[in-house]
Symmetry: C2
Subunit: 252 residues, 2 copies
Amino acid sequence: PATVISVANQKGGVAKTTTVASLGAAFAELGKRVLLVDLDAQACLTFSLGVDPDVVEQSVNEVLLGKASVTDVLVECEDGVDLVPSVIDLASAEAHLLPRPGREYVLRTALEEVRDDYDVVLLDCSPSLGVLTLNALTASQGLVIPMPCEMLSHRGVGQLLDTVTDVQKILNPDLDVLGILPTMFDGRSNHAQEVLADVGERYDLPVLSPPIPKTVRFAEAPAVGRSILTTSRSSKGAQAYREVAAGLLTTI
Amino acid sequence: PATVISVANQKGGVAKTTTVASLGAAFAELGKRVLLVDLDAQACLTFSLGVDPDVVEQSVNEVLLGKASVTDVLVECEDGVDLVPSVIDLASAEAHLLPRPGREYVLRTALEEVRDDYDVVLLDCSPSLGVLTLNALTASQGLVIPMPCEMLSHRGVGQLLDTVTDVQKILNPDLDVLGILPTMFDGRSNHAQEVLADVGERYDLPVLSPPIPKTVRFAEAPAVGRSILTTSRSSKGAQAYREVAAGLLTTI
Ligand SMILES: Nc1ncnc2c1ncn2[C@@H]1O[C@H](COP(=O)(O)OP(=O)(O)OP(=O)(O)O)[C@@H](O)[C@H]1O
Ligand SMILES: Nc1ncnc2c1ncn2[C@@H]1O[C@H](COP(=O)(O)OP(=O)(O)OP(=O)(O)O)[C@@H](O)[C@H]1O
Ligand SMILES: [Mg+2]
Ligand SMILES: [Mg+2]
Protein backbone atom coordinates (compact mmCIF):
# COMPACT_ATOMS: atom_id res chain seq x y z
CA PRO A 1 0.00 0.00 0.00
CA ALA A 2 0.97 3.67 -0.40
CA THR A 3 3.27 5.51 1.99
CA VAL A 4 1.39 8.48 3.44
CA ILE A 5 3.53 11.58 4.15
CA SER A 6 2.39 14.78 5.90
CA VAL A 7 4.02 18.07 4.94
CA ALA A 8 3.47 20.25 8.01
CA ASN A 9 4.77 23.27 9.89
CA GLN A 10 2.42 25.56 11.78
CA LYS A 11 4.57 28.58 10.84
CA GLY A 12 2.96 30.28 7.88
CA GLY A 13 4.43 30.68 4.41
CA VAL A 14 7.27 28.16 4.71
CA ALA A 15 6.50 26.40 1.35
CA LYS A 16 4.29 23.53 2.55
CA THR A 17 1.98 23.80 -0.46
CA THR A 18 4.85 24.38 -2.88
CA THR A 19 6.60 21.28 -1.48
CA VAL A 20 3.53 19.04 -1.83
CA ALA A 21 2.88 20.19 -5.43
CA SER A 22 6.56 19.92 -6.45
CA LEU A 23 7.34 16.61 -4.72
CA GLY A 24 4.09 15.16 -6.06
CA ALA A 25 5.02 16.06 -9.62
CA ALA A 26 8.54 14.71 -9.08
CA PHE A 27 7.25 11.35 -7.80
CA ALA A 28 4.89 11.16 -10.80
CA GLU A 29 7.84 11.82 -13.16
CA LEU A 30 9.58 8.83 -11.52
CA GLY A 31 6.60 6.67 -12.47
CA LYS A 32 4.92 6.56 -9.06
CA ARG A 33 1.13 6.67 -8.60
CA VAL A 34 0.57 9.82 -6.52
CA LEU A 35 -2.40 11.22 -4.54
CA LEU A 36 -2.25 14.72 -3.03
CA VAL A 37 -4.70 15.87 -0.34
CA ASP A 38 -5.39 19.57 0.34
CA LEU A 39 -6.21 20.01 4.05
CA ASP A 40 -6.18 23.82 4.06
CA ALA A 41 -9.33 25.94 3.71
CA GLN A 42 -7.19 28.41 1.71
CA ALA A 43 -7.17 25.71 -1.00
CA CYS A 44 -3.80 26.91 -2.27
CA LEU A 45 -2.76 23.39 -3.38
CA THR A 46 -6.05 22.99 -5.28
CA PHE A 47 -5.52 26.34 -6.98
CA SER A 48 -1.81 25.61 -7.68
CA LEU A 49 -2.77 22.47 -9.61
CA GLY A 50 -5.13 24.35 -11.89
CA VAL A 51 -8.40 23.41 -10.15
CA ASP A 52 -10.77 26.31 -9.32
CA PRO A 53 -11.92 25.76 -5.70
CA ASP A 54 -15.05 27.85 -6.36
CA VAL A 55 -16.41 25.28 -8.82
CA VAL A 56 -15.50 22.14 -6.86
CA GLU A 57 -18.73 20.39 -5.79
CA GLN A 58 -17.39 17.72 -3.49
CA SER A 59 -14.12 18.08 -1.65
CA VAL A 60 -12.13 16.88 1.35
CA ASN A 61 -14.89 18.59 3.36
CA GLU A 62 -17.42 15.88 2.39
CA VAL A 63 -14.84 13.15 2.97
CA LEU A 64 -14.15 14.33 6.54
CA LEU A 65 -17.87 14.67 7.27
CA GLY A 66 -18.44 11.13 6.01
CA LYS A 67 -20.70 12.25 3.14
CA ALA A 68 -18.42 11.09 0.31
CA SER A 69 -15.46 8.76 -0.24
CA VAL A 70 -12.00 9.75 -1.49
CA THR A 71 -12.78 8.07 -4.82
CA ASP A 72 -15.96 10.17 -5.21
CA VAL A 73 -14.14 13.52 -4.91
CA LEU A 74 -10.71 13.00 -6.41
CA VAL A 75 -9.66 14.99 -9.50
CA GLU A 76 -6.99 14.03 -12.07
CA CYS A 77 -4.43 16.81 -12.60
CA GLU A 78 -2.18 17.65 -15.51
CA ASP A 79 0.97 17.17 -13.44
CA GLY A 80 0.22 13.41 -13.45
CA VAL A 81 -1.15 13.31 -9.91
CA ASP A 82 -4.64 12.84 -8.43
CA LEU A 83 -5.91 15.49 -6.01
CA VAL A 84 -8.47 15.53 -3.20
CA PRO A 85 -9.39 19.23 -3.48
CA SER A 86 -10.26 21.66 -0.73
CA VAL A 87 -12.77 24.49 -0.50
CA ILE A 88 -13.29 27.42 1.84
CA ASP A 89 -16.01 25.56 3.80
CA LEU A 90 -13.33 23.24 5.17
CA ALA A 91 -13.10 25.56 8.17
CA SER A 92 -16.57 24.35 9.21
CA ALA A 93 -15.51 20.68 9.05
CA GLU A 94 -12.91 21.44 11.70
CA ALA A 95 -15.57 22.83 14.08
CA HIS A 96 -17.81 19.85 13.26
CA LEU A 97 -15.07 17.29 14.04
CA LEU A 98 -14.00 18.95 17.29
CA PRO A 99 -16.46 17.30 19.74
CA ARG A 100 -16.59 13.85 18.13
CA PRO A 101 -14.82 10.88 19.77
CA GLY A 102 -12.03 9.45 17.59
CA ARG A 103 -12.02 12.67 15.57
CA GLU A 104 -8.27 12.29 14.84
CA TYR A 105 -8.79 9.02 12.90
CA VAL A 106 -11.28 10.27 10.32
CA LEU A 107 -8.77 10.94 7.52
CA ARG A 108 -6.79 7.77 8.18
CA THR A 109 -9.97 5.69 7.84
CA ALA A 110 -10.99 7.52 4.65
CA LEU A 111 -7.57 6.95 3.04
CA GLU A 112 -7.55 3.21 3.86
CA GLU A 113 -9.84 2.47 0.89
CA VAL A 114 -7.40 3.94 -1.68
CA ARG A 115 -3.99 3.10 -0.23
CA ASP A 116 -3.60 0.13 -2.60
CA ASP A 117 -4.26 2.35 -5.65
CA TYR A 118 -1.22 4.62 -5.01
CA ASP A 119 2.49 4.46 -4.19
CA VAL A 120 2.69 7.83 -2.40
CA VAL A 121 0.08 10.05 -0.71
CA LEU A 122 1.12 13.59 0.30
CA LEU A 123 -0.94 15.70 2.74
CA ASP A 124 -0.74 19.53 2.57
CA CYS A 125 -1.43 20.99 6.02
CA SER A 126 -2.67 24.45 7.03
CA PRO A 127 -0.49 26.71 9.23
CA SER A 128 -1.93 25.38 12.51
CA LEU A 129 -1.73 22.41 14.89
CA GLY A 130 -5.51 22.01 14.98
CA VAL A 131 -7.63 18.92 14.44
CA LEU A 132 -7.03 18.75 10.65
CA THR A 133 -3.25 18.65 11.11
CA LEU A 134 -3.71 16.04 13.85
CA ASN A 135 -5.72 13.99 11.35
CA ALA A 136 -2.86 14.26 8.86
CA LEU A 137 -0.23 13.16 11.40
CA THR A 138 -2.43 10.26 12.55
CA ALA A 139 -2.87 9.07 8.95
CA SER A 140 0.85 9.29 8.05
CA GLN A 141 3.91 7.05 8.13
CA GLY A 142 6.22 10.00 7.45
CA LEU A 143 6.51 13.73 8.14
CA VAL A 144 8.48 16.31 6.14
CA ILE A 145 8.95 19.72 7.82
CA PRO A 146 9.63 22.52 5.29
CA MET A 147 11.61 25.31 6.92
CA PRO A 148 13.05 28.48 5.44
CA CYS A 149 16.51 29.19 6.82
CA GLU A 150 15.31 32.28 8.66
CA MET A 151 15.20 32.94 12.39
CA LEU A 152 11.43 33.39 12.67
CA SER A 153 10.68 30.10 10.92
CA HIS A 154 12.85 28.24 13.39
CA ARG A 155 10.73 28.95 16.42
CA GLY A 156 7.83 26.63 15.84
CA VAL A 157 9.80 23.43 15.10
CA GLY A 158 10.14 22.52 18.78
CA GLN A 159 6.39 22.85 19.33
CA LEU A 160 5.66 20.75 16.23
CA LEU A 161 7.98 18.01 17.49
CA ASP A 162 6.18 18.03 20.86
CA THR A 163 2.92 17.45 19.01
CA VAL A 164 4.56 14.67 16.97
CA THR A 165 5.67 12.94 20.19
CA ASP A 166 2.10 13.08 21.52
CA VAL A 167 0.77 11.66 18.25
CA GLN A 168 3.35 8.85 18.27
CA LYS A 169 2.48 7.93 21.88
CA ILE A 170 -1.32 8.05 21.65
CA LEU A 171 -2.55 8.04 18.04
CA ASN A 172 0.06 6.68 15.61
CA PRO A 173 3.25 4.88 16.71
CA ASP A 174 4.27 4.39 13.04
CA LEU A 175 4.81 8.11 12.45
CA ASP A 176 8.44 8.80 11.57
CA VAL A 177 9.99 12.25 11.01
CA LEU A 178 11.69 11.93 7.60
CA GLY A 179 13.44 15.24 8.09
CA ILE A 180 13.57 19.00 7.81
CA LEU A 181 13.54 20.31 4.24
CA PRO A 182 15.34 23.65 3.96
CA THR A 183 13.29 25.88 1.64
CA MET A 184 13.70 29.37 0.14
CA PHE A 185 17.43 28.92 0.67
CA ASP A 186 19.58 31.88 -0.36
CA GLY A 187 23.10 30.46 -0.41
CA ARG A 188 24.65 33.95 -0.56
CA SER A 189 23.27 34.98 2.85
CA ASN A 190 25.36 34.19 5.93
CA HIS A 191 22.22 34.19 8.02
CA ALA A 192 20.75 31.29 6.01
CA GLN A 193 23.98 29.29 6.21
CA GLU A 194 24.11 29.76 10.00
CA VAL A 195 20.49 28.70 10.52
CA LEU A 196 20.98 25.66 8.26
CA ALA A 197 24.08 24.55 10.15
CA ASP A 198 22.26 24.99 13.46
CA VAL A 199 18.96 23.29 12.67
CA GLY A 200 20.09 19.68 12.21
CA GLU A 201 21.99 19.76 15.49
CA ARG A 202 19.43 21.61 17.55
CA TYR A 203 16.60 19.22 16.74
CA ASP A 204 18.65 16.05 16.19
CA LEU A 205 16.77 15.42 12.93
CA PRO A 206 17.86 14.49 9.41
CA VAL A 207 18.15 17.50 7.10
CA LEU A 208 16.92 16.56 3.62
CA SER A 209 19.12 17.62 0.76
CA PRO A 210 19.67 19.50 -1.34
CA PRO A 211 18.14 22.66 0.18
CA ILE A 212 15.50 24.18 -2.12
CA PRO A 213 16.90 27.41 -3.55
CA LYS A 214 14.97 30.68 -3.33
CA THR A 215 13.79 31.68 -6.81
CA VAL A 216 10.95 33.80 -8.15
CA ARG A 217 10.07 30.92 -10.54
CA PHE A 218 8.11 29.36 -7.64
CA ALA A 219 5.73 32.30 -7.21
CA GLU A 220 4.95 32.26 -10.92
CA ALA A 221 3.98 28.58 -11.25
CA PRO A 222 0.63 28.68 -9.37
CA ALA A 223 -0.60 31.39 -11.75
CA VAL A 224 -0.68 28.83 -14.57
CA GLY A 225 -1.93 25.95 -12.44
CA ARG A 226 1.13 23.72 -12.85
CA SER A 227 4.08 22.84 -10.64
CA ILE A 228 7.54 24.32 -11.25
CA LEU A 229 8.60 20.95 -12.72
CA THR A 230 6.44 21.86 -15.71
CA THR A 231 6.68 25.67 -15.82
CA SER A 232 10.48 25.83 -15.37
CA ARG A 233 11.56 22.27 -16.14
CA SER A 234 15.30 22.78 -15.91
CA SER A 235 15.40 25.45 -13.17
CA LYS A 236 17.43 24.94 -10.00
CA GLY A 237 14.18 24.80 -8.00
CA ALA A 238 12.67 22.00 -10.09
CA GLN A 239 15.96 20.06 -10.04
CA ALA A 240 16.22 20.33 -6.26
CA TYR A 241 12.76 18.87 -5.72
CA ARG A 242 13.57 16.03 -8.14
CA GLU A 243 16.64 15.17 -6.07
CA VAL A 244 14.73 15.35 -2.78
CA ALA A 245 12.03 13.03 -4.21
CA ALA A 246 14.61 10.52 -5.42
CA GLY A 247 16.29 10.62 -2.00
CA LEU A 248 12.99 10.04 -0.16
CA LEU A 249 12.19 7.01 -2.31
CA THR A 250 15.26 5.28 -0.88
CA THR A 251 13.97 5.72 2.70
CA ILE A 252 10.18 5.27 2.48
CA PRO B 1 -8.11 57.32 23.00
CA ALA B 2 -5.81 55.11 20.91
CA THR B 3 -6.63 53.94 17.40
CA VAL B 4 -6.61 50.13 17.38
CA ILE B 5 -5.40 48.53 14.12
CA SER B 6 -5.43 44.83 13.24
CA VAL B 7 -2.75 43.46 10.94
CA ALA B 8 -4.35 40.32 9.51
CA ASN B 9 -4.27 37.91 6.60
CA GLN B 10 -5.03 34.22 7.06
CA LYS B 11 -2.43 33.34 4.41
CA GLY B 12 0.75 32.34 6.18
CA GLY B 13 4.12 34.08 5.97
CA VAL B 14 2.94 37.35 4.40
CA ALA B 15 4.83 39.60 6.92
CA LYS B 16 2.08 40.27 9.48
CA THR B 17 4.49 40.04 12.41
CA THR B 18 7.22 41.97 10.59
CA THR B 19 4.68 44.71 9.77
CA VAL B 20 3.47 45.04 13.37
CA ALA B 21 7.05 45.18 14.75
CA SER B 22 8.25 47.64 12.08
CA LEU B 23 5.20 49.93 12.05
CA GLY B 24 5.20 49.92 15.85
CA ALA B 25 8.82 51.05 15.98
CA ALA B 26 8.13 53.68 13.28
CA PHE B 27 5.17 55.14 15.22
CA ALA B 28 7.35 55.24 18.36
CA GLU B 29 10.07 57.11 16.42
CA LEU B 30 7.39 59.67 15.49
CA GLY B 31 6.74 60.22 19.19
CA LYS B 32 3.55 58.16 19.48
CA ARG B 33 2.74 55.99 22.51
CA VAL B 34 2.46 52.48 21.06
CA LEU B 35 1.09 49.16 22.38
CA LEU B 36 1.59 45.93 20.40
CA VAL B 37 -0.46 42.78 21.09
CA ASP B 38 0.73 39.32 20.04
CA LEU B 39 -2.31 37.13 19.26
CA ASP B 40 -0.39 34.20 17.79
CA ALA B 41 0.56 31.10 19.78
CA GLN B 42 3.79 31.03 17.74
CA ALA B 43 4.73 34.17 19.70
CA CYS B 44 6.87 35.42 16.80
CA LEU B 45 6.19 39.08 17.64
CA THR B 46 7.18 38.46 21.27
CA PHE B 47 10.39 36.78 20.15
CA SER B 48 11.08 39.48 17.49
CA LEU B 49 11.03 42.16 20.19
CA GLY B 50 13.65 40.38 22.29
CA VAL B 51 11.25 38.82 24.84
CA ASP B 52 11.70 35.07 25.48
CA PRO B 53 8.19 33.52 25.39
CA ASP B 54 9.40 30.60 27.49
CA VAL B 55 10.04 32.83 30.51
CA VAL B 56 6.90 34.97 30.25
CA GLU B 57 4.70 34.31 33.29
CA GLN B 58 1.54 36.15 32.33
CA SER B 59 0.56 36.83 28.75
CA VAL B 60 -2.34 37.61 26.47
CA ASN B 61 -3.55 34.14 27.46
CA GLU B 62 -4.41 35.34 31.00
CA VAL B 63 -5.95 38.53 29.63
CA LEU B 64 -8.31 36.59 27.35
CA LEU B 65 -9.25 34.18 30.12
CA GLY B 66 -10.04 37.13 32.42
CA LYS B 67 -7.29 36.22 34.93
CA ALA B 68 -5.17 39.36 34.41
CA SER B 69 -5.50 42.85 32.96
CA VAL B 70 -3.49 44.29 30.07
CA THR B 71 -1.59 46.48 32.55
CA ASP B 72 -0.60 43.40 34.60
CA VAL B 73 1.05 41.61 31.67
CA LEU B 74 2.54 44.30 29.45
CA VAL B 75 6.29 44.48 28.88
CA GLU B 76 8.35 47.54 27.88
CA CYS B 77 10.53 46.85 24.82
CA GLU B 78 13.74 48.43 23.60
CA ASP B 79 12.12 49.62 20.37
CA GLY B 80 10.16 52.16 22.43
CA VAL B 81 6.89 50.20 22.40
CA ASP B 82 4.95 48.25 25.04
CA LEU B 83 4.05 44.63 24.27
CA VAL B 84 1.34 42.24 25.45
CA PRO B 85 3.34 39.02 24.93
CA SER B 86 2.09 35.64 23.78
CA VAL B 87 2.98 32.09 24.75
CA ILE B 88 2.39 28.67 23.25
CA ASP B 89 -0.56 28.00 25.60
CA LEU B 90 -2.55 30.62 23.71
CA ALA B 91 -3.91 27.79 21.57
CA SER B 92 -5.85 26.58 24.63
CA ALA B 93 -7.44 30.03 25.18
CA GLU B 94 -8.99 29.73 21.74
CA ALA B 95 -10.66 26.41 22.62
CA HIS B 96 -11.74 27.89 25.98
CA LEU B 97 -13.34 30.96 24.34
CA LEU B 98 -15.15 29.00 21.65
CA PRO B 99 -18.38 28.09 23.51
CA ARG B 100 -18.77 31.32 25.51
CA PRO B 101 -21.43 33.88 24.55
CA GLY B 102 -19.94 37.22 23.48
CA ARG B 103 -16.60 35.50 22.95
CA GLU B 104 -15.69 37.97 20.15
CA TYR B 105 -15.75 40.99 22.54
CA VAL B 106 -13.23 39.75 25.09
CA LEU B 107 -10.17 41.55 23.69
CA ARG B 108 -12.09 44.75 22.96
CA THR B 109 -13.24 44.91 26.59
CA ALA B 110 -9.72 44.19 27.89
CA LEU B 111 -8.20 46.96 25.75
CA GLU B 112 -10.77 49.56 26.87
CA GLU B 113 -8.90 50.12 30.15
CA VAL B 114 -5.65 51.19 28.40
CA ARG B 115 -6.88 52.99 25.29
CA ASP B 116 -6.29 56.40 26.93
CA ASP B 117 -2.66 55.50 27.72
CA TYR B 118 -1.66 55.04 24.05
CA ASP B 119 -1.98 56.71 20.64
CA VAL B 120 -1.79 53.52 18.55
CA VAL B 121 -2.45 49.85 19.35
CA LEU B 122 -1.40 47.22 16.76
CA LEU B 123 -2.70 43.63 16.86
CA ASP B 124 -0.59 40.83 15.29
CA CYS B 125 -2.90 38.04 14.11
CA SER B 126 -2.17 34.35 13.49
CA PRO B 127 -2.64 32.82 10.01
CA SER B 128 -6.29 31.90 10.58
CA LEU B 129 -9.80 33.40 10.70
CA GLY B 130 -10.55 31.78 14.04
CA VAL B 131 -11.93 33.31 17.23
CA LEU B 132 -8.69 35.19 18.11
CA THR B 133 -8.64 36.99 14.76
CA LEU B 134 -12.37 37.74 15.17
CA ASN B 135 -11.50 39.26 18.57
CA ALA B 136 -8.89 41.44 16.89
CA LEU B 137 -11.28 42.65 14.16
CA THR B 138 -14.00 43.35 16.74
CA ALA B 139 -11.58 45.43 18.85
CA SER B 140 -10.23 47.47 15.90
CA GLN B 141 -11.04 50.72 14.12
CA GLY B 142 -8.67 49.86 11.26
CA LEU B 143 -7.34 46.85 9.34
CA VAL B 144 -4.08 46.60 7.37
CA ILE B 145 -3.74 43.54 5.08
CA PRO B 146 -0.09 42.68 4.33
CA MET B 147 0.18 40.89 1.01
CA PRO B 148 3.23 39.73 -0.91
CA CYS B 149 2.82 40.38 -4.63
CA GLU B 150 2.66 36.70 -5.41
CA MET B 151 -0.20 34.69 -6.87
CA LEU B 152 -0.69 32.35 -3.93
CA SER B 153 -0.95 35.20 -1.42
CA HIS B 154 -3.71 36.77 -3.45
CA ARG B 155 -6.19 34.00 -2.97
CA GLY B 156 -7.26 34.58 0.60
CA VAL B 157 -7.99 38.32 0.38
CA GLY B 158 -11.55 37.79 -0.87
CA GLN B 159 -12.32 35.43 2.02
CA LEU B 160 -10.82 37.88 4.54
CA LEU B 161 -12.99 40.70 3.15
CA ASP B 162 -16.09 38.49 3.49
CA THR B 163 -15.21 38.00 7.16
CA VAL B 164 -14.65 41.75 7.54
CA THR B 165 -18.14 42.43 6.11
CA ASP B 166 -19.66 40.02 8.64
CA VAL B 167 -17.76 41.69 11.48
CA GLN B 168 -18.87 45.18 10.32
CA LYS B 169 -22.51 44.08 10.15
CA ILE B 170 -22.75 42.18 13.43
CA LEU B 171 -19.82 42.93 15.76
CA ASN B 172 -18.10 46.22 14.90
CA PRO B 173 -19.54 48.81 12.46
CA ASP B 174 -16.51 51.09 13.09
CA LEU B 175 -14.06 48.70 11.41
CA ASP B 176 -12.51 50.34 8.36
CA VAL B 177 -10.09 48.65 5.92
CA LEU B 178 -7.12 51.05 5.78
CA GLY B 179 -5.66 49.18 2.85
CA ILE B 180 -3.52 46.42 1.42
CA LEU B 181 0.19 46.76 2.21
CA PRO B 182 2.34 45.19 -0.53
CA THR B 183 5.19 43.32 1.21
CA MET B 184 8.27 41.39 0.06
CA PHE B 185 8.07 43.41 -3.16
CA ASP B 186 10.70 42.59 -5.75
CA GLY B 187 10.50 45.46 -8.22
CA ARG B 188 12.57 43.58 -10.81
CA SER B 189 9.99 40.79 -11.23
CA ASN B 190 7.24 41.27 -13.79
CA HIS B 191 5.05 38.89 -11.84
CA ALA B 192 5.12 41.17 -8.78
CA GLN B 193 4.35 44.26 -10.87
CA GLU B 194 1.36 42.52 -12.48
CA VAL B 195 -0.07 41.33 -9.16
CA LEU B 196 0.40 44.80 -7.63
CA ALA B 197 -1.39 46.49 -10.53
CA ASP B 198 -4.24 43.97 -10.30
CA VAL B 199 -4.82 43.92 -6.54
CA GLY B 200 -6.11 47.49 -5.99
CA GLU B 201 -8.62 47.11 -8.80
CA ARG B 202 -9.77 43.60 -8.03
CA TYR B 203 -10.65 44.37 -4.40
CA ASP B 204 -11.50 48.05 -4.75
CA LEU B 205 -9.28 48.86 -1.76
CA PRO B 206 -6.61 51.47 -1.10
CA VAL B 207 -3.07 50.17 -1.67
CA LEU B 208 -0.74 51.60 0.94
CA SER B 209 2.53 52.99 -0.32
CA PRO B 210 5.36 52.60 -0.76
CA PRO B 211 5.43 48.79 -1.20
CA ILE B 212 7.83 47.18 1.28
CA PRO B 213 10.88 45.92 -0.66
CA LYS B 214 12.07 42.34 -0.32
CA THR B 215 15.40 42.30 1.54
CA VAL B 216 17.23 39.72 3.62
CA ARG B 217 17.73 42.41 6.31
CA PHE B 218 14.22 41.54 7.57
CA ALA B 219 15.01 37.92 8.31
CA GLU B 220 18.06 38.94 10.32
CA ALA B 221 16.37 41.43 12.65
CA PRO B 222 14.37 38.97 14.83
CA ALA B 223 17.62 37.16 15.67
CA VAL B 224 18.73 40.16 17.72
CA GLY B 225 15.29 40.96 19.12
CA ARG B 226 14.92 44.41 17.52
CA SER B 227 12.99 45.73 14.55
CA ILE B 228 14.69 46.55 11.24
CA LEU B 229 14.39 50.24 12.14
CA THR B 230 17.12 49.59 14.69
CA THR B 231 19.16 46.80 13.08
CA SER B 232 19.34 48.40 9.60
CA ARG B 233 18.35 52.00 10.31
CA SER B 234 18.90 53.41 6.84
CA SER B 235 17.90 50.35 4.78
CA LYS B 236 15.19 50.56 2.11
CA GLY B 237 12.99 48.26 4.24
CA ALA B 238 13.19 50.48 7.34
CA GLN B 239 12.58 53.61 5.24
CA ALA B 240 9.52 52.09 3.58
CA TYR B 241 7.88 51.29 6.91
CA ARG B 242 8.63 54.82 8.17
CA GLU B 243 6.82 56.25 5.12
CA VAL B 244 3.86 53.90 5.52
CA ALA B 245 3.58 54.86 9.23
CA ALA B 246 3.66 58.59 8.41
CA GLY B 247 1.01 58.05 5.72
CA LEU B 248 -1.27 56.13 8.11
CA LEU B 249 -1.07 58.90 10.71
CA THR B 250 -2.76 61.24 8.23
CA THR B 251 -5.77 58.88 7.91
CA ILE B 252 -6.30 57.43 11.39
N1 LIG C 1 11.97 28.09 -2.86
C1 LIG C 1 11.19 29.16 -2.99
N2 LIG C 1 11.70 30.33 -3.43
C2 LIG C 1 10.93 31.45 -3.55
N3 LIG C 1 9.63 31.49 -3.28
C3 LIG C 1 9.04 30.38 -2.84
C4 LIG C 1 9.77 29.15 -2.67
N4 LIG C 1 8.92 28.20 -2.23
C5 LIG C 1 7.70 28.81 -2.11
N5 LIG C 1 7.77 30.10 -2.50
C6 LIG C 1 6.69 31.12 -2.51
O1 LIG C 1 6.49 31.51 -1.16
C7 LIG C 1 5.08 31.70 -0.90
C8 LIG C 1 4.68 30.78 0.25
O2 LIG C 1 4.74 29.42 -0.17
P1 LIG C 1 3.55 28.38 0.17
O3 LIG C 1 2.23 29.02 -0.07
O4 LIG C 1 3.88 27.10 -0.52
O5 LIG C 1 3.81 28.22 1.75
P2 LIG C 1 2.84 27.50 2.80
O6 LIG C 1 3.70 27.06 3.92
O7 LIG C 1 2.04 26.48 2.11
O8 LIG C 1 1.91 28.72 3.29
P3 LIG C 1 0.63 28.59 4.28
O9 LIG C 1 1.23 28.57 5.67
O10 LIG C 1 -0.20 29.83 4.04
O11 LIG C 1 -0.07 27.32 3.92
C9 LIG C 1 4.35 31.39 -2.20
O12 LIG C 1 4.07 32.58 -2.87
C10 LIG C 1 5.37 30.54 -2.99
O13 LIG C 1 5.21 30.69 -4.36
N1 LIG D 1 9.98 42.68 3.08
C1 LIG D 1 10.54 41.49 3.38
N2 LIG D 1 11.57 41.02 2.64
C2 LIG D 1 12.12 39.81 2.92
N3 LIG D 1 11.76 39.00 3.94
C3 LIG D 1 10.74 39.42 4.70
C4 LIG D 1 10.07 40.67 4.49
N4 LIG D 1 9.11 40.80 5.43
C5 LIG D 1 9.16 39.68 6.19
N5 LIG D 1 10.15 38.86 5.78
C6 LIG D 1 10.53 37.54 6.33
O1 LIG D 1 9.56 36.61 5.88
C7 LIG D 1 9.25 35.66 6.92
C8 LIG D 1 7.75 35.73 7.21
O2 LIG D 1 7.44 36.98 7.81
P1 LIG D 1 6.48 37.05 9.10
O3 LIG D 1 6.83 35.98 10.06
O4 LIG D 1 6.46 38.45 9.55
O5 LIG D 1 5.09 36.67 8.40
P2 LIG D 1 3.68 36.37 9.11
O6 LIG D 1 2.62 36.71 8.15
O7 LIG D 1 3.65 37.02 10.43
O8 LIG D 1 3.77 34.77 9.28
P3 LIG D 1 2.68 33.85 10.08
O9 LIG D 1 1.58 33.63 9.07
O10 LIG D 1 3.41 32.57 10.40
O11 LIG D 1 2.26 34.60 11.28
C9 LIG D 1 10.11 36.05 8.10
O12 LIG D 1 11.25 35.21 8.13
C10 LIG D 1 10.49 37.51 7.84
O13 LIG D 1 11.71 37.83 8.39
MG1 LIG E 1 -0.05 26.19 2.14
MG1 LIG F 1 3.23 36.15 12.33
